[in-house]
């Protein structure tokens, strides 16, 4: 009651205050000064009423079209296996379309025109297509659509941006050549840590896209992924990233497969000469637990580790080691060594040559080599650090 007694007079006073100016607009007492002012206003109104000179209607070159880019990936390959040893092909043509949707979200589409290695025919696929929110509160960001999932460092990166041409064996064993790239939702939270960067990502996907590990059966089981990213600035020139990932979902036996992964990346890039010299040492470890049948579970392990050394502004050398147990039979073990030399002409084209030797304890050693030329036209977004 007391509150009401106070609020009503305040509201009343406020109402009077805001309505008073509108009363004063009525010329109650027309003095000489007022009429002079009135004349001026009338004159002004008249001059405004005259057809003013039309402003030049130059059509703006701006448009709401998204940023469009096309990335070509031409490859030549050699393998010591089989009879058909040499090949040359336009491995992939990627079309990117990126723009803000409205003040609340942006959209990114990556359409891939790729050759089917089996049939040799081209097909179109949505490599990624997702919406990212820009305005969620509490440092949250939501992504929905089809996206490369947050497993460590290789999976979120488009293959053309990697410093080697083939993918690490362990990675392919678990996630396939296309990677874990599925449809669903992703929520990430920037942990309010002032000391170092920390981000938690939680993703739920349907499993429709298919990967060697996960399979959407005739039930409602989905794939769940959690990723913690920690990024430390060691000095102006050096950084360290440690990521931890856990994934669980249904496999093709309608049972559960879980994967634990860790990634560790050390980068040295001198701030002053960062376009001339850099060293990256990146490793990822995967541990899989696949429940394939009643009383049959396979625990498997795999890793890759590479060092990339930038020799000069345009020259890069990358050495990689792969170790991979087959997720369905851990007694089959692959080990591979590869070396890639890259010449980065500009930010928009690079040529790479890779040689690789693979040993496994079942088949005999074999050799592979690739040459690829990546070229970009149009807009090209920045890559992750």
């Amino acid at each position: 009651m007391k509150l009401k007694n106070i609020v009503y007079p305040i509201c009343l006073t406020f109402a009077v205050v805001i309505t008073t100016p509108s009363f004063s607009q009525v010329p109650a007492d027309s003095t000489a000064a007022d009429s002079a002012l009135l004349k001026q206003v009338e004159q002004q109104m008249q001059s405004n009423a005259q057809p003013a000179q039309q402003p030049q209607q130059t059509r703006s070159t701006l448009s709401f079209n998204p940023d469009i880019g096309v990335i070509g990936d031409f490859q030549g390959s050699y393998t010591s296996k089989g009879n058909k040893n040499f090949n040359a092909y336009l491995n992939e043509t990627e079309l990117s379309l990126q723009a803000n949707v409205d003040p609340y979200a942006r959209a990114d589409f990556f359409l891939s025109f790729a050759r089917d290695p089996e049939t040799g025919k081209y097909s179109v696929d949505v490599e990624e297509g997702y919406l990212t929110t820009l305005s969620l509160p509490a440092q949250l960001q939501l992504k929905v659509g089809k996206f490369r999932e947050a497993v460590g460092r290789i999976n979120p990166t488009h293959p053309h941006a990697l410093p080697f041409i083939d993918l690490p064996n362990a990675y392919v064993n678990y996630f396939g050549e296309e990677g874990l790239n599925d449809e669903g939702a992703s929520l990430s939270w920037l942990i309010p840590n002032k000391k170092f960067y920390q981000e938690i990502v939680f993703q739920v996907t349907s499993g429709l896209s298919g990967s060697p590990t996960f399979f959407r059966g005739d039930n409602n089981r989905l794939i769940y992924l959690g990723h913690l990213k920690n990024f430390f600035t060691l000095s102006d020139n050096a950084t360290l990233e440690l990521g931890l990932t856990g994934i669980t979902g249904p496999n093709d036996s309608s049972r559960t497969t879980s994967i634990a992964a860790a990634d560790l990346t050390y980068k040295w890039k001198p701030v002053q000469m960062n376009t001339y010299r850099s060293v990256t040492w990146q490793s990822e470890f995967y541990y899989g637990h696949a429940n394939l049948m009643e009383n049959l579970s396979v625990n498997s392990f795999g890793l890759y580790s590479f060092i990339q050394y930038q020799l000069a502004k345009r020259w890069f050398l990358t050495g990689r080691y792969d170790y991979a147990q087959k997720p369905y039979d851990k007694d089959i073990v692959e080990q591979a060594y590869s070396l890639t030399g890259g010449w980065y002409a500009t930010e928009f084209s690079k040529i790479e040559l890779e040689g690789k030797t693979t040993d496994d304890n079942v088949a005999k050693r074999y050799y592979q080599a690739w040459l690829r030329w990546i070229f970009v036209i149009g807009a090209h977004g920045a890559h992750q650090y």
Partner: protein, 326 residues
């Protein structure tokens, strides 16, 4: 707004929580905790305006305009190439809390700042928001290309983005920054305006001094490593004959070095100017052949230890240049 949301939640939840606590001591502790928490929130809110700039020159000008009302950090350092800053996630921490973001614009930072902004989850500083300042607004741009063609190297479709190297453009930058500060912090408008006027005055005073020093060298022919001096060149009447890079962003080629050597000999050119983030190997070759001097100038505040602010930048460059051109 975020602080208010939290406060609303606190007042709504407090009685419910307190009812469940039988121990009076606990109740007191909880009230004390809540009060301290609310106090902490208000202290954070009442602090200085947090500004993140892309390059240190914008930081320096923001500090001169904002005075003690702002705390400013720059993503790039003064001795690194502003085209190629690595978008380290650690920069996102500062951006997520920033009230104002100041960028050079004209796509100078296209390779790194859009990605950082998108990851910052901070709506206040997104392009088009009140806390986003494009410092290039209103600058008279030079070298605006008539066509966008990457065969010409790293060209910028909106014009050459190194405009802060003309001190008079510093005034436009300062006006843009003051506008931004006044948008996010209207209560201190008079301070910002006063500081802005003081900045304008100091630019005018210093400008006379710099012009006087450079007057004797009007029309001096020089070679530059990268095409980033056009605003400086135009303001102070220099004549950059050619670049070490055959095209912007393309490293010096042997044929370009031959061309430059011939130009130096034909025009009796005294100096090749470069920046701290380019190697000197190609200039060394040319210097050996021709006897031309090499000079590393500062393109940004902080390029060298003695360059603490925007005025020091021109003091340094003009002192170095005049000494070598004599």
């Amino acid at each position: 707004m975020a602080a208010m949301d939290i406060c609303d939640r606190c007042t709504w939840r407090t009685p419910v929580l307190i009812k469940t606590l039988k121990d009076d001591n606990m109740k007191n502790k909880l009230i004390f905790f809540l009060i301290s928490f609310l106090g902490l929130l208000t202290t954070v809110g009442a602090g200085t305006i947090k500004v993140v700039t892309t390059i240190p020159d914008l930081k320096s000008i923001t500090e001169l305009i904002g005075g003690d009302k702002v705390s400013v950090s720059s993503i790039a350092t003064g001795y690194q190439n502003p085209h190629f800053v690595d978008p380290k996630p650690s920069y996102i921490i500062g951006l997520s809390k920033a009230d104002l973001f100041v960028t050079v614009g004209l796509d100078l930072e296209i390779g790194w700042s859009p990605q950082l902004l998108a990851s910052s989850r901070n709506t206040k500083i997104q392009k088009g928001a009140e806390g986003y300042v494009d410092a290039s607004q209103g600058v008279g741009l030079l070298q605006v290309p008539s066509s966008a063609n990457r065969a010409e190297g790293d060209i910028h479709i909106y014009g050459n983005p190194h405009y802060w190297l003309d001190p008079l453009n510093g005034k436009v930058i300062a006006r843009n920054i003051a506008n931004g500060l006044e948008r996010v912090d209207p209560s201190n408008k008079s301070t910002y305006e006063a500081n802005l006027q003081a900045f304008f005055k100091k630019v005018d005073v210093k400008m006379k001094d710099w012009q006087a020093k450079m007057a004797a060298f009007k029309g001096s022919k020089i070679i530059a490593y990268h095409n980033e001096w056009v605003y400086f060149e135009t303001r102070f009447g220099l004549n950059i004959v050619d670049f070490m890079e055959p095209k912007p962003g393309i490293p010096p080629s042997p044929s370009q070095l031959v061309k430059v050597i011939k130009e130096i000999q034909a025009n009796n050119i005294k100096v090749i100017i470069s920046s701290p983030y380019f190697t000197t190997s190609s200039s060394d070759v040319v210097a050996k052949q021709t006897g031309v001097k090499e000079l590393t100038l500062a393109t940004s505040v902080g390029a060298f230890d003695s360059i603490k602010n925007y005025f020091d930048l021109f003091d340094y460059d003009i002192e170095q240049l005049t000494a070598i051109l004599k």
